[in-house]
Amino acid sequence: MKYRRFDPATVYRWLLKLYPAGFREEYESPMEQQFRDDLRSASSTQQRAMLWIAAVLDIVTQAPAQFSREVWQDLRYTVRVYRNRSTTAALAVGALAVAIGASTGIFGVLNAVLIRSLPFSNPESLVEIWRSRTGALRGRAAFLDWQHSTPYLRSAAAFSTTEMNLEREYGALRVNVAETSANLFDLLGTKPIWGRSFRAEEDSPGNSGVAIIGYDLWQQAFGGDPGLIGMKVRVNGTPIEVIGVAPPRFTTPSEQRSGSLRRLTSSVFPNEAPSFSAR
């Protein structure tokens, strides 16, 4: 059985593939020839080892330089060509801008609707029920009655979103607020990353001045200060105690569609309960 003798230049030829194709096409053969000549003139193992180290270092330093050189040349050539054809260039740039904008927009919608799952545990078992303005279900008592009587749902929570003024030392900030029933976090399977969730007794009238603040609002308006937990903030003139911070990306199920960033969730139960999140 005949074995082919190992040819070191084969390894070198493989390393030369790190160079850009155009450069390789021009100089691969003389470079390989030079390496063979150098290898032939190296008399000791040490010299051959040094030659290999030098060859690898040469490729590692020169190949990126050749790449950037070719890219720069291509760029200069492109600019030169398109400078002389300004209408074509404008059309190409316009077409690119439209295509990129359309692709980004379509991906944004697909990502929100089809790809990215809701940041809740078991999102597939959640349904959202909207109360129509003319519907009969109004107020806390009606909701609680409906919640306990419906045979189709394991649990239900109510929330209502609105905008309110968050008052601070240096001015008010308009923030989105969802007023919820106390069980919303439990129903969605979400826990605050800081502080605690709402307690059942906080659903009762007169016992509702607590809030879980949205992560982004916590970062933007309060600099991520953990000392905010237990402090009172004024929302529409009413002092509300911050008891926790919601996880990043957490909003109410409705807001998952609109991607609202700011959120202040309070358990001030609304007089009307326009939306139910149920499982």
Binding site: Y27, Q34, L57, I59, Q66
Partner: protein, 120 residues
Amino acid sequence: MRGVPSTIEALLPLPLAIFHMLLSLSEGERHGYALKREIVQRTGGKLNLGSGALYGSINKMLEQGLIEESDERPDPHLDDERRRYYRITPLGRRVAQAEAIRLRELVRVAETHLRLPEPA
């Protein structure tokens, strides 16, 4: 530099390897490996170009019009016919001259400032 056309001045200062190659090619046509050996010999082994640096510089010089590939080939019995030979162009010669003048002026300044001893 006064009296040097802007096309030449834009190429100065020349990288050391390119200046050495132009010096070698000013004596006649050479192939890449011969250029490398000559530079090693001239610099006492201090400048030993790897093949990437060597052919990268040759590529650059070809693009800048400092050298051109020679069609004349030596007798195939005397040399490997795969080797490519290069020769200096008139522009390359003028650029090498301008670089030499630039270096001479630099050495003159150094002699004044550093009070170099006269060569033996």
